[in-house]
Protein backbone atom coordinates (compact mmCIF):
# COMPACT_ATOMS: atom_id res chain seq x y z
CA UNK A 1 0.00 0.00 0.00
CA UNK A 2 2.77 2.40 -0.82
CA UNK A 3 0.66 4.60 -3.04
CA UNK A 4 -2.19 5.52 -0.70
CA UNK A 5 -0.48 8.48 0.89
CA UNK A 6 -3.65 9.89 2.49
CA UNK A 7 -4.37 6.57 4.17
CA UNK A 8 -0.78 6.22 5.32
CA UNK A 9 -0.49 9.70 6.77
CA UNK A 10 -3.90 9.51 8.48
CA UNK A 11 -3.08 6.13 9.93
CA UNK A 12 0.26 7.41 11.15
CA UNK A 13 -1.56 10.15 13.02
CA UNK A 14 -4.33 7.91 14.32
CA UNK A 15 -2.49 4.81 15.50
CA UNK A 16 -0.65 6.33 18.50
CA UNK A 17 -3.90 7.82 19.75
CA UNK A 18 -5.79 4.57 19.29
CA UNK A 19 -3.15 2.68 21.26
CA UNK A 20 -3.06 5.39 23.91
CA UNK A 21 -6.84 5.33 24.18
CA UNK A 22 -6.70 1.55 24.58
CA UNK A 23 -4.28 1.92 27.48
CA UNK A 24 -6.50 4.61 28.98
CA UNK A 25 -9.53 2.34 28.74
CA UNK A 26 -7.48 -0.47 30.29
CA UNK A 27 -6.15 1.37 33.30
CA UNK A 28 -9.03 3.76 33.78
CA UNK A 29 -11.61 0.99 33.69
CA UNK A 30 -12.00 1.26 37.46
CA UNK A 31 -13.28 4.80 37.22
CA UNK A 32 -14.93 5.14 33.85
CA UNK A 33 -16.52 2.86 31.30
CA UNK A 34 -14.27 0.21 29.89
CA UNK A 35 -12.04 -2.57 31.09
CA UNK A 36 -9.81 -5.32 29.88
CA UNK A 37 -11.97 -6.63 27.09
CA UNK A 38 -12.69 -3.26 25.50
CA UNK A 39 -9.09 -2.15 25.90
CA UNK A 40 -7.76 -5.35 24.35
CA UNK A 41 -10.04 -5.02 21.37
CA UNK A 42 -9.18 -1.36 20.80
CA UNK A 43 -5.46 -2.08 21.11
CA UNK A 44 -5.78 -4.94 18.66
CA UNK A 45 -7.70 -2.83 16.15
CA UNK A 46 -5.06 -0.11 16.33
CA UNK A 47 -2.39 -2.68 15.67
CA UNK A 48 -4.37 -4.33 12.90
CA UNK A 49 -4.81 -0.92 11.27
CA UNK A 50 -1.02 -0.66 11.24
CA UNK A 51 -0.78 -4.10 9.71
CA UNK A 52 -3.31 -3.20 7.03
CA UNK A 53 -1.71 0.05 6.00
CA UNK A 54 1.98 -0.77 6.29
CA UNK A 55 1.89 -4.45 5.46
CA UNK A 56 1.83 -7.62 7.48
CA UNK A 57 5.60 -8.02 7.30
CA UNK A 58 6.16 -4.73 9.08
CA UNK A 59 3.51 -5.57 11.68
CA UNK A 60 5.25 -8.92 12.27
CA UNK A 61 8.53 -7.16 12.74
CA UNK A 62 6.97 -4.99 15.47
CA UNK A 63 5.16 -7.84 17.18
CA UNK A 64 6.15 -11.33 16.00
CA UNK A 65 3.45 -13.97 15.84
CA UNK A 66 5.40 -16.05 18.30
CA UNK A 67 5.11 -13.27 20.87
CA UNK A 68 1.36 -12.94 20.43
CA UNK A 69 0.98 -16.68 20.96
CA UNK A 70 2.86 -16.49 24.21
CA UNK A 71 0.89 -13.42 25.29
CA UNK A 72 -2.32 -15.32 24.51
CA UNK A 73 -1.46 -17.80 27.24
CA UNK A 74 0.09 -15.27 29.62
CA UNK A 75 -3.17 -13.34 29.91
CA UNK A 76 -5.13 -16.43 30.94
CA UNK A 77 -2.37 -17.47 33.31
CA UNK A 78 -2.31 -14.01 34.88
CA UNK A 79 -6.05 -14.17 35.50
CA UNK A 80 -5.98 -17.72 36.78
CA UNK A 81 -2.81 -17.15 38.77
CA UNK A 82 -4.35 -14.17 40.53
CA UNK A 83 -7.22 -16.43 41.46
CA UNK A 84 -4.97 -19.25 42.62
CA UNK A 85 -2.87 -17.00 44.89
CA UNK A 86 -5.81 -16.64 47.25
CA UNK A 87 -5.70 -20.43 47.79
CA UNK A 88 -2.40 -20.00 49.62
CA UNK A 89 -4.06 -17.69 52.10
CA UNK A 90 -6.89 -20.14 52.74
CA UNK A 91 -9.51 -18.27 50.74
CA UNK A 92 -11.71 -19.05 47.79
CA UNK A 93 -10.63 -18.93 44.16
CA UNK A 94 -10.55 -15.34 42.87
CA UNK A 95 -11.05 -13.82 46.31
CA UNK A 96 -8.73 -10.84 45.99
CA UNK A 97 -9.26 -9.46 49.48
CA UNK A 98 -6.21 -11.36 50.74
CA UNK A 99 -3.71 -10.03 48.19
CA UNK A 100 -2.80 -7.07 50.37
CA UNK A 101 -3.26 -6.36 54.06
CA UNK A 102 -6.14 -4.02 53.45
CA UNK A 103 -8.97 -5.98 51.83
CA UNK A 104 -10.16 -3.00 49.80
CA UNK A 105 -6.77 -2.34 48.22
CA UNK A 106 -6.39 -6.11 47.80
CA UNK A 107 -9.59 -6.12 45.78
CA UNK A 108 -8.29 -3.18 43.81
CA UNK A 109 -5.02 -4.93 42.99
CA UNK A 110 -6.81 -8.15 42.12
CA UNK A 111 -9.20 -6.41 39.75
CA UNK A 112 -6.31 -4.54 38.16
CA UNK A 113 -4.36 -7.76 37.53
CA UNK A 114 -7.39 -9.61 36.27
CA UNK A 115 -8.35 -6.83 33.88
CA UNK A 116 -4.77 -6.75 32.63
CA UNK A 117 -4.96 -10.49 31.99
CA UNK A 118 -8.21 -10.08 30.09
CA UNK A 119 -6.75 -7.25 28.01
CA UNK A 120 -3.60 -9.17 27.11
CA UNK A 121 -5.47 -12.30 26.11
CA UNK A 122 -8.10 -10.47 24.07
CA UNK A 123 -5.68 -8.31 22.11
CA UNK A 124 -3.27 -11.22 21.55
CA UNK A 125 -6.13 -13.40 20.31
CA UNK A 126 -7.39 -10.76 17.89
CA UNK A 127 -3.92 -10.06 16.53
CA UNK A 128 -3.15 -13.77 16.21
CA UNK A 129 -6.35 -14.41 14.28
CA UNK A 130 -5.61 -11.42 12.07
CA UNK A 131 -2.09 -12.69 11.33
CA UNK A 132 -3.38 -16.13 10.45
CA UNK A 133 -6.12 -14.83 8.17
CA UNK A 134 -3.84 -12.34 6.48
CA UNK A 135 -1.09 -14.85 5.76
CA UNK A 136 -3.27 -17.49 4.12
CA UNK A 137 -2.21 -18.20 0.60
CA UNK A 138 -4.57 -17.19 -2.11
Amino acid sequence: MTRHSILRITAKFMIPYILLFALYVQFHGDFGPGGGFQAGVIFASGFILYGLIFGIENARRVLPARVTRVLLAIGVLLFGGTGVISFFFGHNFLDYSVLLKNSVSGQHLGIFLVELGVGITVSATMITIFYIFASQDK
Binding site: D30, H108, V118, S135, D137
Partner: protein
Protein backbone atom coordinates in the same frame (compact mmCIF):
# COMPACT_ATOMS: atom_id res chain seq x y z
CA UNK B 1 -31.19 -1.06 11.68
CA UNK B 2 -34.08 -3.08 10.32
CA UNK B 3 -33.43 -1.61 6.89
CA UNK B 4 -29.76 -2.60 7.06
CA UNK B 5 -30.65 -6.11 8.17
CA UNK B 6 -33.08 -6.45 5.25
CA UNK B 7 -30.42 -5.19 2.85
CA UNK B 8 -27.94 -7.74 4.26
CA UNK B 9 -30.43 -10.51 3.64
CA UNK B 10 -31.25 -9.42 0.11
CA UNK B 11 -27.90 -8.31 -1.33
CA UNK B 12 -26.05 -10.86 -3.44
CA UNK B 13 -22.66 -9.14 -3.49
CA UNK B 14 -20.88 -10.39 -0.38
CA UNK B 15 -18.53 -7.41 -0.25
CA UNK B 16 -21.55 -5.13 0.12
CA UNK B 17 -22.99 -7.52 2.71
CA UNK B 18 -19.83 -7.28 4.84
CA UNK B 19 -19.85 -3.48 4.71
CA UNK B 20 -23.58 -3.42 5.50
CA UNK B 21 -23.09 -5.63 8.53
CA UNK B 22 -20.36 -3.24 9.66
CA UNK B 23 -22.90 -0.41 9.39
CA UNK B 24 -25.38 -2.55 11.32
CA UNK B 25 -22.83 -2.97 14.11
CA UNK B 26 -22.19 0.75 14.27
CA UNK B 27 -25.92 1.41 14.54
CA UNK B 28 -26.11 -1.19 17.31
CA UNK B 29 -23.25 0.59 19.09
CA UNK B 30 -25.18 3.86 18.89
CA UNK B 31 -28.21 2.07 20.30
CA UNK B 32 -26.12 0.81 23.25
CA UNK B 33 -24.88 4.34 23.93
CA UNK B 34 -28.49 5.53 23.98
CA UNK B 35 -29.25 2.76 26.49
CA UNK B 36 -26.30 3.96 28.64
CA UNK B 37 -24.31 0.75 28.07
CA UNK B 38 -21.10 2.45 27.00
CA UNK B 39 -18.95 -0.63 27.69
CA UNK B 40 -21.00 -2.76 25.34
CA UNK B 41 -20.97 0.02 22.76
CA UNK B 42 -17.15 0.09 22.84
CA UNK B 43 -17.02 -3.62 22.27
CA UNK B 44 -19.63 -3.58 19.53
CA UNK B 45 -17.91 -0.77 17.64
CA UNK B 46 -14.45 -2.32 17.89
CA UNK B 47 -15.29 -5.99 17.41
CA UNK B 48 -18.51 -5.93 15.41
CA UNK B 49 -17.71 -3.05 13.10
CA UNK B 50 -13.93 -3.20 13.12
CA UNK B 51 -12.31 -6.56 13.56
CA UNK B 52 -15.04 -8.92 12.40
CA UNK B 53 -15.64 -6.84 9.27
CA UNK B 54 -11.93 -7.02 8.59
CA UNK B 55 -11.79 -10.79 9.09
CA UNK B 56 -14.78 -11.18 6.77
CA UNK B 57 -12.98 -9.11 4.13
CA UNK B 58 -9.88 -11.23 4.58
CA UNK B 59 -12.00 -14.34 4.09
CA UNK B 60 -13.59 -12.83 0.99
CA UNK B 61 -10.18 -12.10 -0.48
CA UNK B 62 -9.37 -15.78 -0.04
CA UNK B 63 -12.64 -17.04 -1.50
CA UNK B 64 -15.03 -15.08 -3.67
CA UNK B 65 -17.42 -12.22 -3.21
CA UNK B 66 -20.29 -13.69 -5.19
CA UNK B 67 -23.04 -15.59 -3.46
CA UNK B 68 -24.30 -18.64 -5.28
CA UNK B 69 -27.69 -17.65 -6.59
CA UNK B 70 -30.61 -19.33 -4.91
CA UNK B 71 -33.90 -17.61 -5.33
CA UNK B 72 -36.72 -19.89 -4.33
CA UNK B 73 -38.30 -19.27 -0.92
CA UNK B 74 -38.49 -22.31 1.35
CA UNK B 75 -41.73 -22.34 3.28
CA UNK B 76 -41.02 -24.61 6.22
CA UNK B 77 -38.00 -22.60 7.51
CA UNK B 78 -39.97 -19.39 6.95
CA UNK B 79 -42.83 -20.83 9.00
CA UNK B 80 -40.52 -21.92 11.84
CA UNK B 81 -38.73 -18.55 11.94
CA UNK B 82 -41.98 -16.59 11.96
CA UNK B 83 -43.47 -18.81 14.66
CA UNK B 84 -40.36 -18.43 16.86
CA UNK B 85 -40.41 -14.68 16.33
CA UNK B 86 -44.07 -14.45 17.27
CA UNK B 87 -43.46 -16.57 20.38
CA UNK B 88 -40.57 -14.33 21.43
CA UNK B 89 -42.70 -11.21 20.95
CA UNK B 90 -45.45 -12.90 22.94
CA UNK B 91 -42.91 -13.56 25.70
CA UNK B 92 -41.88 -9.91 25.89
CA UNK B 93 -45.48 -8.90 26.65
CA UNK B 94 -45.03 -10.40 30.09
CA UNK B 95 -41.70 -8.71 30.82
CA UNK B 96 -41.36 -5.68 33.09
CA UNK B 97 -40.85 -2.32 31.46
CA UNK B 98 -37.23 -1.52 30.48
CA UNK B 99 -35.36 0.04 33.43
CA UNK B 100 -38.15 -0.67 35.92
CA UNK B 101 -36.52 -0.51 39.39
CA UNK B 102 -39.02 -3.07 40.70
CA UNK B 103 -38.24 -5.67 38.05
CA UNK B 104 -37.15 -9.02 39.55
CA UNK B 105 -33.67 -8.80 38.01
CA UNK B 106 -33.13 -5.42 39.65
CA UNK B 107 -34.16 -6.65 43.09
CA UNK B 108 -31.98 -9.75 43.44
CA UNK B 109 -28.28 -8.86 43.92
CA UNK B 110 -28.12 -5.51 42.15
CA UNK B 111 -28.97 -3.38 45.24
CA UNK B 112 -26.25 -5.21 47.17
CA UNK B 113 -23.68 -4.46 44.48
CA UNK B 114 -24.72 -0.81 44.32
CA UNK B 115 -24.57 -0.29 48.07
CA UNK B 116 -21.52 -2.43 48.92
CA UNK B 117 -19.30 -2.21 45.84
CA UNK B 118 -17.60 1.03 46.88
CA UNK B 119 -17.01 -0.21 50.46
CA UNK B 120 -15.71 -3.65 49.46
CA UNK B 121 -13.61 -2.89 46.40
CA UNK B 122 -13.04 0.87 46.45
CA UNK B 123 -13.82 1.06 42.76
CA UNK B 124 -16.33 3.67 41.60
CA UNK B 125 -17.27 1.84 38.41
CA UNK B 126 -19.68 -0.86 39.55
CA UNK B 127 -19.59 -2.57 36.16
CA UNK B 128 -15.89 -3.27 36.59
CA UNK B 129 -16.20 -4.48 40.17
CA UNK B 130 -19.08 -6.80 39.30
CA UNK B 131 -17.32 -8.21 36.24
CA UNK B 132 -13.90 -8.67 37.78
CA UNK B 133 -14.67 -9.42 41.40
CA UNK B 134 -18.24 -10.51 42.18
CA UNK B 135 -18.57 -12.38 38.92
CA UNK B 136 -14.93 -13.30 38.55
CA UNK B 137 -15.72 -16.88 37.62
CA UNK B 138 -17.87 -15.79 34.69
CA UNK B 139 -15.23 -13.43 33.40
CA UNK B 140 -12.56 -16.09 33.78
CA UNK B 141 -14.75 -18.41 31.74
CA UNK B 142 -15.10 -15.76 29.06
CA UNK B 143 -11.36 -15.24 28.88
CA UNK B 144 -10.83 -18.97 28.55
CA UNK B 145 -13.41 -19.03 25.75
CA UNK B 146 -11.51 -16.31 23.88
CA UNK B 147 -8.25 -18.14 24.52
CA UNK B 148 -9.78 -21.36 23.19
CA UNK B 149 -11.03 -19.53 20.12
CA UNK B 150 -7.55 -18.22 19.42
CA UNK B 151 -6.02 -21.65 19.94
CA UNK B 152 -8.68 -23.20 17.72
CA UNK B 153 -7.96 -20.84 14.85
CA UNK B 154 -4.26 -21.45 15.33
CA UNK B 155 -4.77 -25.20 15.22
CA UNK B 156 -7.00 -25.06 12.15
CA UNK B 157 -5.20 -22.51 10.00
CA UNK B 158 -1.86 -21.64 11.51
CA UNK B 159 0.05 -24.70 10.39
CA UNK B 160 3.73 -24.48 9.60
CA UNK B 161 6.26 -22.32 11.38
CA UNK B 162 7.79 -20.74 8.31
CA UNK B 163 4.57 -19.06 7.32
CA UNK B 164 4.62 -16.81 10.30
CA UNK B 165 8.12 -15.46 9.75
CA UNK B 166 8.56 -12.07 8.15
CA UNK B 167 9.43 -12.03 4.48
CA UNK B 168 8.60 -15.66 3.84
CA UNK B 169 4.98 -15.26 2.87
CA UNK B 170 3.07 -13.23 0.39
CA UNK B 171 1.09 -10.23 1.54
CA UNK B 172 -2.59 -10.82 0.94
CA UNK B 173 -4.32 -7.83 -0.56
CA UNK B 174 -7.12 -7.06 1.88
CA UNK B 175 -8.98 -4.65 -0.34
CA UNK B 176 -11.23 -7.48 -1.49
Amino acid sequence: MALTAYAVARTRNLFAVVILSGIFSFLAAVLYVVLNAVDVAFTEAAVGAGISTLLMLATLSLTTDKERAKHQIKFIPLLIVSATGLLLIFGTLDMPFYGDPNAPTNLHVAPLYISDSMKQTGIPNIVTSVLASYRGYDTFGEVVVIFTAGIGVLALLGHGKNRTRPGKNRNVNLEG
